[in-house]
Amino acid sequence: MTIDLLPHLKQMLSAPGLSGYEDPVREIVRDAWELLSDEISVSRTGSLHALKRGDGPDPCPRVMLSAHMDAIGLMVTGIADGFLRFTQIGGIDPRILPGQMVTVHGRRDLPGMVVMPPAHLLPPEAGSGVAALPYLLIETGLRANEVDKVVRVGDVVSFAQEPVDLAGGALAGHTLDNRVSVAAVTHCLDILSRRKHAWDVWAVASSQEEVGLTGAFTSPVEIRPDFAIAIDVTFARSIGSSDWRSFPLGSGVTLAWGPNIHPALYDEIAATANELDIPFTREPAPGMTGTDAYAIQVVQSGIPCLLIGIPLRYMHTPVETVSLKDVRRAGRLMAEFISALPLDFMQTLEWK
């Protein structure tokens, strides 16, 4: 079977799934991965595991693909005259919030909007310049008595901006970080369903990456992979984002290089990409990568890791922009690499 990637991605974007509250998006990923795998389960911390068995003799060596499915968002901290005060889940620049459309997940879902009160209602230091998070409000369009009935402190709030198709095969929307990587894993499983592969493939849609890599620290304990590939978004070049940390949009994936990455594994996947003409850029990661790879590497007695990056503009805003070509490239690179893995691959990796 072949999964149509754009509808799959948009379906994931339509579902909430804030860190710790991943259930709605997990159901959508499960529906897609169930068709492409042999076993499916959910970890104690909410990550989705799908096993696609290899053709090798039991027990096969195992590779784990980890793409976090959780989203950044907001949580209600108070209600004032029908307006909601809130805090953040994950890293959010308060400057992007005024005027953002959201969904308040109360006793029922309410459409809402983040609003910035006029200066005279705020302390002097907050009125001009940037209104920090505590000064912003959510407007639901309902009268105060109705809001009091439907919303409670602790309700989560997700971004609601509909994704926008842009010229040149790009998509803009919220939570493309990191649903595009989940889509890339789906694409990989889809290709592998028509290929022979000796290794067992464990696809993981991990939980709570944005608040401390919870899923990535825990799933490898159950799966015990021989090595792992983390897939996440990286910075695409755009206004204000042009230094060495940013990569051109639509010109290929990145392969991270640095202490979180096993150098011999890097050489192997880079060789595969070169052989198949899948464009990539080496992404210098001199310190921590801030991705699932950072956690997975140090689980138990250690796991060799790779990190594939999909360039994305305007990260952690509701208009994150990605090129679908790069998403497919990430999926294809993983599938090609995995299907070519010999059973004794780990024994051939050498420190040099």
């Binding site: 310049g129 940037v130 369009g141 010229a167 040149g168 910075f235 208009v319």
Partner: protein
């Protein structure tokens, strides 16, 4: 007029599907000051069948006249501006990225992270922001300026748009419970209200309807429209901020709200551009009270409407403004109550039916 006069049919005007559908199509249209064609086309389609004369003047105003049948008719000009605040592309930087300027008054802090539409084709784009991961804490305390932002049409966007094209927020009209959320409610509400008033104009007046251009950049259309019509009375129908949010400090009461939702149409006594004619204010308030229509006085403070230009035209035109209160004017999405809109239309309809030129005789001291 007597407060005991029987209620006029116009005071029973209701907001139904026809009105909300029209408002939705008007709000979803893009009509930035100086390029009002999309809204002008909708207005012409709506008013041509119901007016004796319709013309488009040198600036692009739509000037429509509906003549009454009574004797001693009052010549009333009502103005509703068709334009909205928005953007103009100013620089093509290649790769689908365009620099832009703001047209009218938009707080720069409202720009970041929004989808936009560009040009007559409504080409989709976004205004992005640097990833939080690449910012410093100090940077995050400094508001982004329009010069630091770009409209991004995507990697295939090179050559899709032209310098000079207008752009606006991509927000779509939505009804939420008792409220309506949309861009450009300032002043598509006025445009719908004026079209509705033309439909049901009473016979005791000549209704001189000016759908004006360039209000947001200096009340420019209203000036020439008022000259053309030479009316006895001028009324601007618009939308005005409702700053009725809670104060951050819970011990503070918000006493500077300008207007409040759920309190009915806002009648102006004074703004930054006009001191409203006292006789007209009296007429509107008396009409509202006689018909049992709620209203509020807009707190006198800066701001302005087309009345600012109309009242100084020719030898002077007694003028006033009536607005629908709206939260979050001049942002990606404003919010109104349907009931306030309905009561605004009811008030205007009822007051026009009760209008007689005697109200223009000098007031007693």
């Amino acid at each position: 007029m007597s407060p005991n006069q029987k209620r006029t049919p116009n005071s029973r005007q209701r907001i139904g599907k026809r009105q909300t559908d029209l408002l939705a199509s008007l709000c979803n249209a893009l009509s930035v000051s100086g390029d009002e064609q999309e809204v002008r086309e909708i207005v012409l389609r709506e008013v041509k069948p119901i007016c004796q004369s319709v013309k488009v003047d040198a600036l692009g105003n739509v000037l429509a006249t509906r003549i009454g049948s009574g004797a001693d008719r009052v010549r009333v000009m009502i103005a509703a501006h068709m334009d909205e605040v928005g953007f103009m592309l100013t620089q093509d930087e290649g790769d689908g990225l365009y620099g832009f300027s703001i047209v009218g008054g938009i707080d720069e802090r409202q720009l970041v992270g929004k989808p936009v539409i560009v040009g007559r084709e409504h080409i989709p784009g976004v205004i992005g922001a640097k990833a939080i991961h690449l910012t410093t804490p100090d940077e995050r305390k400094t508001a982004l300026k329009v010069e630091q932002l770009r409209i991004d049409l995507g990697p295939g966007g090179a050559g899709l748009a032209n310098v000079g094209d207008r752009a606006g927020f991509a927000t779509r009209y939505t009804e939420i419970g008792p409220s309506i959320r949309a861009k450009a409610l300032d002043n598509r509400l006025g445009v719908v209200n004026l079209i509705e008033l033309l439909r049901s104009a009473p016979e005791n007046i000549d209704l001189l309807a000016a759908f004006t251009v360039q209000e947001e950049v200096g009340l420019r259309g209203a000036r020439t429209a008022a000259y053309h019509f030479n009316p006895q009375i001028g009324i601007a129908v618009d939308s005005t901020p409702a700053n009725d949010l809670p104060a951050y400090d819970e011990d503070d009461e918000n006493t500077r709200y300008n207007t409040r939702l759920d309190h009915g149409p806002a009648i102006y006594l004074m703004d930054g551009a006009t001191i409203a004619d006292r006789r007209l204010a009296e007429w509107l308030m008396t009409s509202a009270e006689a018909e049992g229509i709620p209203y509020q006085i807009r707190q006198p403070n800066p701001g302005g409407t087309d009345a600012g230009a109309i009242h100084k035209t020719r030898a002077g035109v007694p003028s006033i403004s009536v607005s629908v209160p709206q939260r979050y004017c001049h942002t990606a999405a404003g919010l109104i109550r349907k009931s306030d809109w309905e009561n605004t239309l009811r008030l205007l309809g009822a007051a026009l039916s009760r209008l007689d030129s005697k109200i223009l005789t000098p007031l007693e001291a």
